[in-house]
């Protein structure tokens, strides 16, 4: 019995992380294998990763999967974290790496599925009204046309509000490469939106609503 009980998977989620613990202490606890550290790290950073993945991918379900993948890899490899105080950037870089892989995989898959304009990916957004869902569906259809690097840079810059320098550091590429990818992505997305009358009209309407 005792042999079997050693492997009991617990399903307990603490109500909150330890608010008094800073990132460095949390990372050290993770490395030391403190029992509370997984839940604390998850509670602190899973929402960040989830939102980042959802905005980048346009899919809530996939965002959940990506979040789990990020934290599974993080917990399994946390001993490779050299600077405990950089826990946040460590997690973000994990997330970016996995998102990059996901985008690449999608692009590879698109060679096969041959989306037509009427067959754009569905974007089921919780709580969004039908019109908003349609707008998002079109928008993510446009993003799907970008290259992996351009899409990731675009998402991090415009949907996550990261600076170009932060993006370069997180993606481990040069700032000039980030700038090029960003400029290309902005022009391509802007042109595509402008050529989509419904999308452009919607944005004008939104702008008008806000009285600007």
């Amino acid at each position: 019995m005792s042999a079997g009980r050693k492997n009991i998977p617990l399903h307990i989620v603490p109500s909150s992380a330890r608010p008094d613990v800073d990132d460095a202490a949390l990372a050290r606890a993770l490395i030391a294998g403190e029992p509370w550290s997984h839940a604390a790290t998850w509670n602190r950073y899973a929402p960040l990763v989830f939102n980042m993945a959802w905005r980048a991918l346009g899919s809530e379900d996939e965002a959940e999967d990506i979040t789990q993948e990020v934290f599974y890899r993080l917990f399994a490899r946390v001993r490779t974290l050299c600077k405990p105080e950089s826990l946040r950037s460590f997690i973000v870089s994990f997330a970016i790496r996995i998102l990059k892989w996901e985008f690449r995989r999608r692009r590879a898959g698109r060679w096969l599925t041959f989306f037509t304009p009427n067959d754009l990916p569905d974007v089921p957004f919780r709580g969004a009204d039908p019109e908003a869902r349609e707008i998002l569906r079109r928008f993510y259809g446009i993003l799907n046309e970008l290259g992996t690097r351009e899409r990731l840079v675009f998402a991090l810059r415009h949907l996550e509000s990261m600076t170009l320098g932060e993006i370069a550091a997180a993606m481990e590429i040069s700032l000039s490469t980030v700038k090029r990818a960003h400029a290309q992505a902005v022009v391509e997305v802007g042109r595509s939106i402008a050529s989509d009358k419904d999308l452009a009209g919607f944005l004008e309407e939104v702008q008008g609503r806000h009285g600007t």
Partner: protein, 436 residues
């Protein structure tokens, strides 16, 4: 100048769109947070178990080596007077034992371990497990995933242990089928003969399961259900009404030829016509598959009607049917069984695996490669860490290269090397990456 204006207006448009996207993204719900952490923990626990198992095995191996050397040094040249009780002899059918005691199927139809004293263990197709230890009184086996049929010969002093996930089944002399779903953390134990005791999570003590009973444990739901095996009304593919005497043919029973044929076969199996005299042989499709009796399954399907089977068979039976049909090259039936698996049991491990197997079927069909690629892609989306992930990504790369050329496949090759640097297709991926 025009380019700058273009960039400026694009930036403004993009910012408005980004603002809108940010405004409609809802935060992570508490339910998503709780279930997400649960899943991550379960995966980590499974990983830990694998590592501990391997560590223990290697440690035990080292220890055994040291002891063996010491014994050799002490007793070399002298005759041992201590009576030595030899471990049970066994052999492997349909596969081999690799490092760590893992059983690897060579034909895809599962692996059978046959012990000298009459005990047998059949890992059904898709199951993964290993032989942890063998001694004079029995053996310890571990089922990490899938279904195994176990028959332990009754004899004094017999001591057999079966690990199914976190559960430990202690066996004396009996016949049963046990399945462990590592993804859903569910144990399903069906007793045919004898009695076993089960220990593990959710039980304060030992659970005794006797002949004709079924124990189902669902860890995530914390459910433990012990009940009688399904009643006759329930769908039970091969439990056809048969005569106890195999020689009673259609003329005596008034059965149609197919039915009598099936009945004869089932009765013959029960009476030991396959060389297993005295032991009630499992008469389910999975058991028939393990026995290599794919024709029996296909005939049973024809007798009952394919549509009914597809609509009513359990997930395990559909899997056995799909395998049987694939092995017999009845691709149409295999395809329908796999599609039924996906539509009736969405999200289950077998439904995920079905996507990959559908890809394999399409890949072998003339003109089916584009469809196969879609299935591989779908499998990788649904089960990025699934049992067939490496295979699916590898096949995707190969088929893409054949259909669209090296340039298109190179991206997949990069992904493959990133995820499976030592995988079966790593060589092909490296070659592809180096192609101009």
């Amino acid at each position: 100048m025009e380019r700058e204006v273009d960039r400026g207006s694009s930036a403004a448009t993009v910012e408005r769109m980004a603002d809108f996207v940010r405004s409609v993204i809802a935060p992570m719900t508490p339910a998503q947070s709780e279930s997400g952490l649960d899943i991550v923990r379960a995966r980590l626990a499974a990983r830990q178990r694998r590592r501990i198992g391997l560590f223990r095995l290697s440690f035990a191996g080292m220890g055994a080596g040291v002891v063996a050397c010491a014994l050799w040094l002490v007793f070399s040249g002298a005759k041992l007077t201590v009576p030595h009780k030899a471990s049970l002899a066994y052999h492997v059918e349909g596969g081999e034992i690799v490092d760590g005691g893992y059983l690897r199927s060579l034909g895809g139809a599962g692996v059978k371990l046959r012990f000298a004293e009459g005990s047998e263990l059949d890992f059904l197709a898709g199951a993964r497990g290993r032989l942890r230890s063998v001694d004079a009184n029995g053996a310890r086996l571990a089922i990490e995933r899938g279904t195994a049929s176990v028959k332990v010969a009754h004899r004094p002093g017999a001591h057999w242990l079966v690990d199914a996930g976190p559960f430990l089944i202690t066996v004396k002399g009996t016949t049963f089928t046990v399945a462990w779903d590592a993804t859903g953390e569910q144990l399903d134990l069906r007793m045919e003969q004898g009695t076993v005791s089960v220990t593990g999570p959710l039980s304060e003590g030992t659970i005794t399961v006797s002949a004709g009973q079924r124990l189902a444990i669902n860890l995530p739901r914390r459910e433990v259900v012990l009940r009688e095996l399904e009643s006759v009304e329930a769908f039970h593919p091969a439990s056809v009404p048969v005569s106890p005497e195999p020689e009673l043919g259609p003329s005596k029973q008034g059965l149609d030829p197919d039915r009598a044929d099936t009945a004869r076969e089932a009765a013959a199996q029960r009476s030991g016509a396959h060389g297993r005299g005295g032991v009630a042989w499992p008469h389910t499709w999975p058991a028939a598959l393990v026995a290599g009796d794919t024709d029996f399954i296909l005939r049973d399907v024809e007798r009952r009607g394919l549509e009914r089977c597809l609509a009513e068979a359990s997930s395990e039976d559909l899997s056995a049917l799909a395998d049987a049909a694939r092995y017999r090259r009845r691709d149409n039936i295999a395809k329908q069984a796999l599609l039924a698996q996906r539509s009736r049991f969405p999200g289950s491990a077998r439904a995920l695996d079905a996507a990959f197997l559908l890809g394999r079927l399409d890949e072998m069909r003339e003109g089916g490669r584009p469809k196969a690629l879609s299935w591989y892609e779908r499998y990788l989306e649904e089960a990025p860490s699934g049992a067939y992930a490496s295979e699916a990504l590898g096949r995707e790369m190969i088929v893409m290269q054949e259909l669209m050329g090296a340039a298109a496949a190179r991206m997949v090759a990069e992904d493959y090397l990133h995820r499976f640097p030592t995988g079966t297709y790593a060589g092909a991926a490296r070659a592809l990456r180096q192609e101009p």
